[in-house]
């Protein structure tokens, strides 16, 4: 999307105004295709496969395919039978002895209609270790090219040199962050205003949240000087309301990919990023490694792959050196009448309603602000400190 960037820089000069609007195409066709996706890692434990149907663009819902028979074969002649543990989700326990780098796996799925779908073999390639994960504070343009810039940190990965000449890698990141409420709790309203005589509590002050980074991240050392990745850009963590407020952690899981699996995931990544613009490549139809045995013309989406996993945890503590514009709680600045009126709108099951008492005096005056500013759990987080939190 380089040209769009150019336009953004150049067009203000040319006295132009462009704009971006949401666009919903009028898609007539809606062909449901079977999606089979799963992977075998080198770690002992359950390995999963999910089977679902693609749904219309206008109204995406997930339709799971139930009651399939799922078998995974390795190149040593072992067969692993999967069980459906949730609708459309299948799993099987693999003992460590079957999960060596270099093994090849393929899947066969028989649906309840009796149609058979099979993948080719995919080899478990060795995965180099993660040497380091670093970050740089950055300001980037938002996806909307005419919107303001976004501050945040860009994560980079340094891998160790791989055993193979070419390494293909894919990453997943689970993120966890600590965030704080703006006010300690003290005086509150539960029908009447309770004055706590200046006693403050931090019991609802520190919260934790976690999530999965939804970016597709793949990289290869093909066309690069070494088979070691230095400063490979992972995700950009945007400074939203709270993520980078106090402390942020990312668990980076690194997967090795065979050449064909890399080609698949890399194309998926391209399709999700820059596609459809005038100076971009055409978006493409991507078909994975799974075919319908009885009807080779039927399109099947998804990929079945084998991988070795390496992981490393990264911490970022905001010590204030990066000037982020956090969401700040502002008192409503109510008169006693406005406050009373507002308090009356709360129902009992919403109690207690925490109040600001800047004077610290028994007669107030009190003020109100968003309850999230007192109770961090109202922002969706948990008070439970994760084990790995340092």
């Amino acid at each position: 999307m380089q040209v769009i960037r150019l336009l953004k820089y150049w067009l203000p000069v040319a006295l132009l105004t462009g704009c971006i609007e949401p666009f919903n195409p009028d898609i007539e066709e809606s062909k449901e295709l079977l999606v089979i996706s799963g992977k075998i890692t080198n770690l002992e434990g359950y390995h999963y496969l999910e089977i679902s149907w693609s749904t219309s663009y206008d109204n995406p819902v997930i339709v799971r395919e139930k009651n399939c028979s799922v078998s995974v074969y390795d190149d040593k002649g072992n067969v692993f039978q999967y069980q459906e543990y949730l609708p459309g989700f299948y799993r099987c326990w693999f003992a460590q002895e079957y999960l060596s780098v270099g093994n090849r796996f393929r899947v066969e799925v028989v649906t309840k209609e009796g149609k058979t779908y099979a993948s080719g073999f995919d080899e478990m390639k060795p995965c180099p270790g993660i040497e380091n994960i670093t970050y740089e504070a950055k300001t980037i343009e938002s996806d909307d090219p005419f919107m303001n810039c976004v501050n945040g940190i860009q994560l980079y990965i340094y891998t160790e040199a791989s055993e193979d000449d070419v390494t293909n890698l894919k990453w997943e990141i689970d993120e966890t962050w600590e965030y704080h409420a703006s006010y300690l709790i003290s005086d509150y309203f539960d029908g009447t205003i309770n004055f706590m005589e200046g006693m403050m509590s931090d019991s609802l002050f520190v919260c934790f949240k976690n999530g999965r980074v939804k970016d597709m991240m793949t990289m290869s050392t093909r066309n690069y000087a070494s088979n070691k990745i230095n400063k490979g850009p992972l995700t950009f963590v945007a400074d939203n309301k709270e993520k980078l407020q106090i402390k942020y952690s990312a668990l980076v899981r690194q997967f090795s990919l065979s050449d064909s699996a890399f080609e698949f995931w890399n194309k998926m990544q391209q399709n999700l990023q820059d596609a459809g613009g005038l100076y971009d490549a055409q978006p493409i139809r991507i078909i994975g490694n799974i075919r319908c045995v009885s009807d080779p013309e039927e399109r099947v989406l998804g990929y079945f792959w084998a991988t070795e996993i390496k992981e490393k945890r990264f911490f970022f503590r905001n010590t204030g050196e990066i000037p982020f514009d956090f969401y700040k709680c502002q008192p409503y600045d109510y008169t006693p009448e406005q406050l009373e009126e507002h308090l009356r709108t709360f129902t009992e099951d919403e109690y207690p309603i925490y109040l600001i008492n800047e004077s610290g005096l028994a007669e107030g005056p009190w003020d109100l602000t968003d309850q999230e500013c007192f109770d961090c759990t109202k922002g969706g987080g948990t008070l439970e400190r994760p084990e790995f939190w340092q």
């Binding site: 820089y9 006295l15 132009l16 990745i229």
Partner: protein, 927 residues
């Protein structure tokens, strides 16, 4: 002073009663002396006095050796074909006149209204030529008589070849595309790039009407005795300056053989609304039917459903490999130096070759041969300047123009750090020298350079340049044969540095060199035949460059993409043959040849396998300049015109074209990093066949004409790219591209009004363009081997261009553009893997972005109309996209936090108002 003398003399002569010219005899020994020397010599020794303007007789050489030479006969010989006449009075004064033949005879005027009582009625043989001329001269509109050839010098039974030149009276510039219409024959002739024309006429008298866009129509009586030549100077028609006339030749529409042909002159588009006030000939070309592009502000043209790399752009025969500035927002041709261009969409003359779809033949202006002048202008984006003038008056001239953008300066004033790190600049300069060595030799030297440089926030840099030069020599061997020989060099190159991702930072330089020699001949051996023949040879040198790491953190492996060499050559011959007054045919054959030269290493692949590294079975090595692969073939160019009435005709044409290089582009619009690539061992040259049928009608009373054409075009060996092809990662293109076929068909309707206060055109075009890449093997297919619309398949297009002249100082112009949205690939369904949404896309180009509509308006205000002023300026107030419609520039789908969102981006989403100012030396009418 001369004029007064002439006038008085003429007056005197008319009053004189002498009926016979004086005949003078002299003895002399003049061997190849100039006319002036000859006249001086004769004045010294004989009892004669010459009256003439030295300028007129420049280049005339006289040889007269012997005794009792008739001066009258001698002058008749030496002045034949020069447009000069002489008259000798009884006092032995020899008057040389230009354009006007003096008659000393007062005819016995016969009152024709007397009708049948007149004994001479119906027979004018009793009158002398001079008397006839005098009489005819009084006819309305027939101003002067031009006598061509010496009476009696003609070999009976053959036609006389009459050639000449049409120039601008004010600037001395040759007028291109001026027409000479012979009323009696209902036949028109047009001048070529050098203002020359050739007619083949039987001896006799004819009424000729000479027309040229923006010029005052001239009427002449042609008195053709034998082969000869004459020159005509045309005066400017003030009122017509702002006419929107896209055809120079008003007879073309119906009578000419041209189909799918348009000619746009800069003068005529002066007031058409332009984006950001930048007047741009090529942008106006997009308003013509059958001319499209993939998006507003994108570079490249799609002519009749063909890819952008299938068009040839020449400026004074220099090929321009990238025709855009700033990614296509402006064309690379400065409007100050462009005179006009001709666009051939079908019925491509045999002299053009090397591209499949179209030829844009752009000619630059010639400098003013009479006086120095300059012009310039400012728009919100650019400033431009041009200067011109004679080097030797009436003999040679120069013009130089330059244009640059000053957006850099504005960027540097901005506070945003990223913006200050960015720059966007472009400029172009062009110059032309025209030298008229003598009446038979004309030389034009042209040079051109354009440059673009963008730097985005310090991480992305795009630069590209076009440069070229040509030396063009026009030589007239005889009245029947003329030649045009040109030597051309051109170079296009780009460089790109991308350090957005430090680890992948890369830079790449690319360059293509073009050296060409061509010679074109026009031969008119007899009436009804016009032969053209010639040959050209091109040597291509490509350096596809190396991809090298950029930035200290880059770990990219260097990849040499290799150098290439090729030679393309062609021979052609064509005959335009007038079978009857109503029926004209054109038979043309071009034979083109191409050799791909070493040094090269060529892979052999396992048959039935994809042409990728994994299936290489062997390597052939070729040494430097060794022939790797040879391709050749005939290209037929056939056309016929049948006139169904005085003002209507039906035309049919068929052509085949071949192309030996193509562009590597996997993006929807052309981008400045797209590389030209020669056809090679594996990539075969594309070829196209096109059939067109058209009906044309003139409506002289309303000043309108109508044309309709249908066409069908089939292209073979079209190069298409595999999904996800990355041209920087591999040097073997066959591993990234496939060859398929394309069919395009359409209907083009156009109604034009060329005269009156309101001028302009309205066109509708229905066109389709579909590509098929199929193979018995799955890897050889694109879109599963099914037909898909090309990126520029826009079925419906309506264009309107209107210009309303309220008075000489104020005019309004408007454009209306509508077309179907371009095809696009949209997600048709969504699926979910591990909590992330993915898109499953439709078949290629199955959907379309929203339709495009735009209306523009411009108001042009000229400065005062005083004739005597130092400089004249005019303002142009432009409203672009006056309805503010948010047309889709692109539509794209991105994953944001695991969710798919679609966006439509518009770049000109609001009306854009610009004011531009232009100035030129001289008055309103100055050129």
């Amino acid at each position: 002073m001369n004029k007064i003398i002439l006038f008085l003399t003429a007056l005197f002569l008319y009053l004189s009663v002498s009926a016979n010219d004086t005949i003078i005899y002299f003895n002399g020994n003049y061997r190849d002396v100039s006319f002036e020397d000859f006249a001086f010599g004769l004045e010294q020794h004989g009892n004669v006095k010459f009256w003439f303007k030295p300028l007129w007789v420049e280049g005339i050489r006289v040889t007269a050796v012997g005794e009792k030479i008739s001066l009258n006969d001698l002058l008749e010989q030496v002045l034949a074909g020069t447009g000069l006449y002489f008259y000798i009075d009884e006092n032995n004064n020899v008057f040389i006149t230009k354009g006007i033949q003096l008659s000393a005879t007062l005819p016995e005027y016969i009152d024709h209204t007397a009708g049948k009582d007149d004994p001479n009625n119906g027979s004018q043989e009793g009158l002398t030529n001079a008397e006839l001329n005098y009489k005819e001269g009084r006819r309305n509109g027939t101003s002067e008589t031009i006598t061509i050839g010496i009476p009696g010098a003609h070999t009976s039974g053959r036609t006389a070849v009459v050639n000449g030149k049409v120039t601008d009276k004010e600037t001395g510039e040759a007028l291109i595309g001026a027409t000479i219409y012979i009323e009696e024959l209902e036949k028109g002739y047009a001048t070529d790039l050098n203002g020359h024309f050739i007619m083949s006429l039987s001896p006799g008298t004819y009424n000729a009407v000479i027309n040229c866009m923006g010029m005052e129509e001239l009427h002449y009586k042609l008195d053709v005795n034998a082969a000869g030549s004459f020159e005509v100077e045309m005066g400017r028609k003030l009122i017509a300056i702002n006419e929107v006339t896209i055809k120079a030749n008003k007879f073309d529409n119906v009578r000419g053989l041209q189909m799918g042909y348009d000619r746009l002159s800069f003068k005529t588009i002066k007031e058409i609304p332009a984006v950001m006030g930048e007047r741009d000939l090529l942008k106006v070309a997009q308003m013509l039917p059958g001319v499209q592009n993939v998006g507003e502000g994108s570079s490249g043209f799609n002519i009749r459903g063909s890819a952008a790399d299938q068009n040839m752009f020449f400026i004074n025969k220099v090929p321009v490999y990238n025709t855009s500035h700033l990614f296509g927002f402006f064309s690379a041709f400065n409007s100050e130096i462009v005179n006009d261009f001709s666009l051939y969409k079908c019925n491509i003359p045999a002299k053009y070759g090397g591209r499949l779809a179209s030829f844009f033949d752009i000619t630059s202006r010639q400098g003013n041969m009479k006086r120095y002048t300059a012009r310039g202008g400012l728009s919100p984006i650019t400033g431009h300047l041009a200067a011109e003038g004679p080097i030797v008056k009436d003999k040679s001239s120069f013009i130089i123009s330059a244009r640059t953008t000053y957006s850099d300066w504005i960027l540097s004033k901005l506070h945003d750090a990223d913006l200050r790190k960015s720059n966007a600049s472009f400029y172009d300069i062009a110059g032309n020298i025209s030298i008229e060595l003598d009446s038979r030799n004309f030389i034009r030297i042209f040079g051109y350079y354009s440059d673009d440089d963008f730097n985005l926030a310090g991480t992305n840099r795009y630069g590209y340049f076009n440069t070229g030069a040509s030396v063009d020599w026009n030589h007239q061997f005889s009245s029947k044969l003329s030649a045009n020989t040109t030597a051309i060099v051109a170079r296009y190159g780009f460089s790109n540095t991308d350090t957005t991702i430090a680890r992948s930072g890369l830079s790449h330089n690319y360059q293509i060199d073009h050296y060409e020699l061509k010679s074109d001949y026009t031969w008119v051996p007899m009436e009804k035949h016009l032969f053209n023949f010639g040959a050209n040879i091109i040597r291509y040198g490509l350096d596809r460059g190396s991809v090298i790491p950029a930035g200290s953190e880059s770990e990219r492996t260097p990849e040499a993409l290799g150098a290439e060499k090729g030679v393309e050559s062609a021979l052609y011959f064509s005959d335009e043959y007038q079978l009857s007054n109503r029926f004209t045919i054109y038979l043309g054959l071009r034979y083109s040849m191409y050799g791909y030269l070493g040094a090269a290493d060529v892979y052999d692949y396992n048959p039935g396998s994809p042409k990728t590294e994994n299936y290489v079975t062997g390597t052939k090595s070729f040494s430097d300049n060794q022939l790797v692969k040879f391709y050749s073939g005939p290209e037929f160019r056939l056309a016929a015109n049948y006139r169904t009435g005085n003002n209507s005709s039906v035309k049919l044409s068929y052509n085949r074209t071949r192309q030996y290089l193509f562009m590597l582009s996997n993006t929807i619009a052309l981008s400045p990093t797209d590389q030209w690539k020669l056809c090679d061992y594996h990539m075969e040259p594309p070829l196209a066949d096109q059939v067109s049928l058209g009906y044309y009608k003139d409506m002289p009373k309303s000043g309108m004409n109508f044309s309709s054409e249908i066409y069908y075009k089939k292209t073979l060996n079209l190069v298409e790219y595999k999904d996800g092809a990355d041209f920087l990662s591999a040097d073997k293109i066959e591993s990234l591209a496939l060859q398929g076929e394309q069919s395009a068909y359409g209907l083009e309707l156009m109604l034009r009004k060329n005269s009156g206060k309101l001028t302009g055109w309205l066109s509708y075009c229905y066109s389709r363009s579909e590509i098929l890449v199929n193979s018995p093997y799955f890897w050889g297919r694109i879109n599963d081997g099914l037909k898909y619309p090309s990126n520029y398949d826009k079925p419906h297009a309506v264009n309107g261009v209107m210009n309303l002249r309220l008075n000489r100082q104020l005019s309004l112009a408007a454009n209306i553009v509508y077309n179907t949205g371009r095809p696009a690939t949209f997600p048709i369904s969504i699926y979910n893997i591990e909590g992330i949404e993915y898109m499953h896309y439709s078949a290629r180009n199955e959907y379309r972005i929203p339709d495009y509509f735009r209306a523009d308006l411009s108001i042009n205000i000229e400065g005062n109309l005083k004739a005597k002023k130092f400089a004249h300026s005019y303002w142009m107030l432009n409203f672009y996209n006056i309805t503010g419609r948010k047309n889709a520039y692109s539509v794209y789908f991105v994953s944001e936090n695991g969710r798919i969102n679609g966006y439509k981006m518009s770049i000109f989403g609001t009306p854009i108002v610009t004011l531009s100012w232009n100035i030129k030396l001289g008055n309103y009418a100055s050129d």
